[in-house]
């Protein structure tokens, strides 16, 4: 019986003639089957580009034996929009708009990485107030992005309620981001040399009211999902990634920290105002989905703590350095990285002295998080595969760039 959905599955793979289920990369573990000689026929299921729980248009070609996954292969590229190619035809201050649409859940971090790279080329000194505003907006965006992760992670495990509570809090955060930058998602707020505008009065007042309730809401979220017995049974000890696998697959950010490796770009390569802010970096131990949950929930609390420090300690002064209207940085190559909610988001700029970059490369942390899935999925159950996609928190706009 041909399954109409199958035509979607095989057109890309059979056309390339590369997919045969027997061949898995040697490095990736193969689960021997037919232990008692019972040869079961494998079912190749296509967790397709249109699927309620994939975070955008991820297609996971999964070879199932019953419920157990024998071999998983990532087929991406359904959202390849050429951010890097178009970056070569944009001026330096326009790179932020492309980066917003790369990781569209936390746009500020992309803009900040592009601005930092340009500033390294220009060697321009960013005023102190702009540094603090950058850290403030990054942390607000981090809480908003972790709320999206928290909502969709619960949805992948089947819980509907806490998703809506997370969206409720995210609405308040987007109001603040909109009051400061004028847009809910594509802020275009951080430019080379500083930030576009100062903090308006109502944004500060909104932030204060938000901060009064957020701690209670975070406890509520933790109790609603983390405290739930069924969720804990589903998540503890599942999809564990040990230290060496995480490092060899290039994981960064919360996915790496949950295996115990204390690497955080905000502390090891400090940028913006992170030297003056007190925050501690939560670490996990086993690297399973439960640790990823705990590390990210703790990161949200640290982010709220930093937001409080940012508002109280905001210095005076102007928000934009003296930067020429058309930026023509000297020829050179530079790499600047930022701690985005998904990991280390880096921008690799090669400039040839003209007003558009010669090569604009965007290091996407989600690509490496997706890569590790191909390694840990064989052996898991189908239900866990969907949950693990949610736990490593990927954004497809970043993977396909």
């Amino acid at each position: 019986m041909t399954d109409p959905r199958d035509t979607v599955l095989t057109h890309a793979l059979q056309a390339e003639g590369t997919y045969d289920s027997g061949k898995a990369p040697a490095g990736i573990r193969r689960i021997p089957r037919g232990v008692d000689g019972l040869a079961t026929e494998h079912l190749v299921v296509n967790i397709g580009p249109q699927h309620p729980s994939t975070h955008g248009v991820l297609r996971l070609v999964v070879e199932l034996d019953g419920e157990e996954i024998m071999n998983a292969e990532v087929a991406v590229g359904y959202l390849h929009r050429g951010i890097e190619k178009l970056g070569e035809h944009r001026r330096y201050h326009q790179l932020g708009t492309l980066m917003d649409r790369g990781d569209y859940v936390s746009g500020i971090h992309g803009e900040l990485a592009a601005a930092l790279a340009t500033e390294q080329l220009l060697e321009v000194e960013v005023p102190a107030k702009a540094q603090w505003l950058r850290s403030l907006m990054s942390e607000i965006n981090r809480v908003a992005s972790h709320l999206v992760w928290y909502g969709t992670f619960g949805l992948d495990c089947g819980a509907m309620g806490q998703f809506l509570y997370a969206v409720r809090d995210r609405e308040n955060l987007l109001d603040i981001l909109e009051a400061v930058s004028g847009q809910r998602m594509m802020f275009n707020y951080v430019r080379p040399g500083g930030v576009v505008a100062d903090l308006p009065a109502d944004a500060e007042q909104k932030l204060r009211t938000f901060l009064r309730t957020i701690d209670g809401y975070l406890e509520e979220h933790d109790a609603l999902l983390g405290g739930n017995e069924i969720f804990q049974k589903r998540v503890r000890g599942v999809g564990a990634i040990d230290r060496t696998t995480a490092l060899s697959f290039g994981l960064t950010g919360a996915n790496l920290r949950c295996t115990g490796v204390p690497y955080d770009v905000r502390r090891d390569k400090p940028y913006a105002a992170y030297e003056e802010l007190q925050f501690d970096v939560p670490l996990g131990s086993t690297g399973d989905a439960w640790d990823r949950y705990l590390v990210r929930m703790e990161e949200m609390r640290q982010a709220v703590r930093m937001i409080r420090q940012c508002i109280d300690g905001l210095p005076e002064g102007d928000v934009m350095a003296k930067v020429p209207k058309v930026l023509r940085p000297p020829a050179g190559e530079v790499y600047a990285c930022v701690e985005s909610p998904r990991g280390e988001l880096g921008v690799h700029l090669l400039s040839d002295g003209s007003d558009t970059p010669y090569r604009f490369h965007y290091r996407a942390p989600s690509l490496f998080a997706m890569q590790v899935l191909e390694e840990i999925l064989p052996g898991q159950l189908l239900a866990d595969a969907i949950m693990l996609i949610g736990s490593v928190d990927v954004v497809l706009g970043e993977i396909d760039r």
């Binding site: 019986m1 399954d3 959905r5 079912l43 699927h51 089947g158 819980a159 589903r234 239900a383 969907i386």
Partner: protein, 336 residues
């Protein structure tokens, strides 16, 4: 009335009750889930969105009825019927009040469970026939789940039958009228709390409701076994899911919450409004199911199997032995 008429009238009443139930329950689900999730649920279609479900049903009626190619034709068309009819037949034995009942069956309980266990047959037919990998996995999950939870469901009900001594639902309710020691109602929920707990868990599995809704898991299997069904065929499956929850909740009320009786209400006020009380109690039960559906995450299929075989069945067997001993000890004087 002539014999034929008196036979047909209750069946028509059952069908009408089921359709009205389906419409009201779908509206209630969207409203309850809405308010659970801090939003309003349907509001614009008619005052407070009351007419929303009729709009949905009418739209489903007028949709194009697709039969995808590569589908096993007859089983594909038959499956929704096999899912719909048993949940319609299950209405037969439910006692709405002393007299108001479709049929007086002295094996009412057994009949209802037998009919309800036909529904997974339709689910498996639907999943297998619609030539879609998601529905196949959903159907096989439904099969494993129903088989694993049919047994504890029946075992949890045996203590009630042991005490009452008959399978007739009316009698079970009659047994629960009156009051103990002046204040405690004689409902079975109080002495037989563990068997109610087991009944609730396995009932949730029977209904494929969260936290055990693996067979139509939204986030994993797109729409589970009903993925390939459009328009009114999907409508039948959707409707039968809700009428199943009405039947199971009605059973729970009859067995454990004293059917249509209220402890302190004198006889003559009770009889005219008995069906109303019964339906009200059933709707409270359904509200609890929806409440659970809105909050809990989904259990993995193998954890579900462990829970079923390793925990629920031994627990219900032990509980039956305990109740048996107690009933035996107090047999001459009946339950004190």
């Amino acid at each position: 009335m002539s014999a034929v008429l008196s036979a047909i009238l209750p069946v028509l009443a059952a069908v009408a009750l089921m359709l009205v139930n389906g419409v009201v329950l779908i509206y209630m689900l969207r409203k309850v889930l809405g308010h659970l999730h801090l939003r309003l649920g349907p509001m614009h279609v008619g005052p407070k969105g009351i007419v929303q479900t009729t709009a949905d049903v009418l739209k489903l009626l007028s949709k194009e009825d697709i039969t995808p190619n590569g589908v096993d034709r007859w089983m594909y068309v038959l499956a929704p019927v096999v899912v719909f009819v048993p949940s319609l037949m299950a209405y037969a034995a439910i006692p709405f009040s002393e007299t108001l009942r479709i049929t007086r069956l002295d094996t009412g309980l057994l009949y209802t469970f037998a009919v309800l266990s036909l529904v997974p047959l339709g689910v498996i037919m639907a999943g297998w026939a619609s030539a879609n990998k998601y529905s196949l996995i959903g159907a096989l999950r439904a099969a494993a789940q129903q088989v694993a939870y049919e047994v504890p469901l029946l075992l949890s009900v045996i203590p009630v039958v042991m005490i009452v001594g008959s399978l007739d639902l009316g009698e079970i309710v009659a047994f629960q009228t009156g009051v103990w020691m002046g204040v405690v109602p004689r409902w079975f929920i109080i002495p037989l709390l563990p068997s109610f707990a087991i009944f609730l868990i396995s009932a949730l599995c029977e209904l494929n409701q969260t936290p055990f809704d693996m067979s139509e898991a939204e986030s994993e299997l797109v729409a589970g076994f009903a993925t390939e069904y459009s328009s009114m065929k999907f409508g039948l499956i959707f409707l039968s899911e809700f009428s199943n929850s009405f039947v199971i909740s009605a059973l729970a009320v009859t067995l454990f919450f004293g059917g249509w009786t209220l402890p302190f209400v004198p006889e003559e006020i009770l009889t005219p409004i008995a069906p109303l009380i019964f339906v009200l109690k059933t709707y409270i039960g359904i509200f609890v199911f929806m409440w659970i559906r809105g909050t809990l995450p989904r259990v993995r299929i193998d954890q579900l199997m462990n829970l079923g075989w390793k925990w629920l069945i031994p627990a219900s067997l032990a509980w039956i032995m305990l109740v048996g001993v107690v009933v035996k000890l107090t047999a001459p004087g009946g339950v004190s």
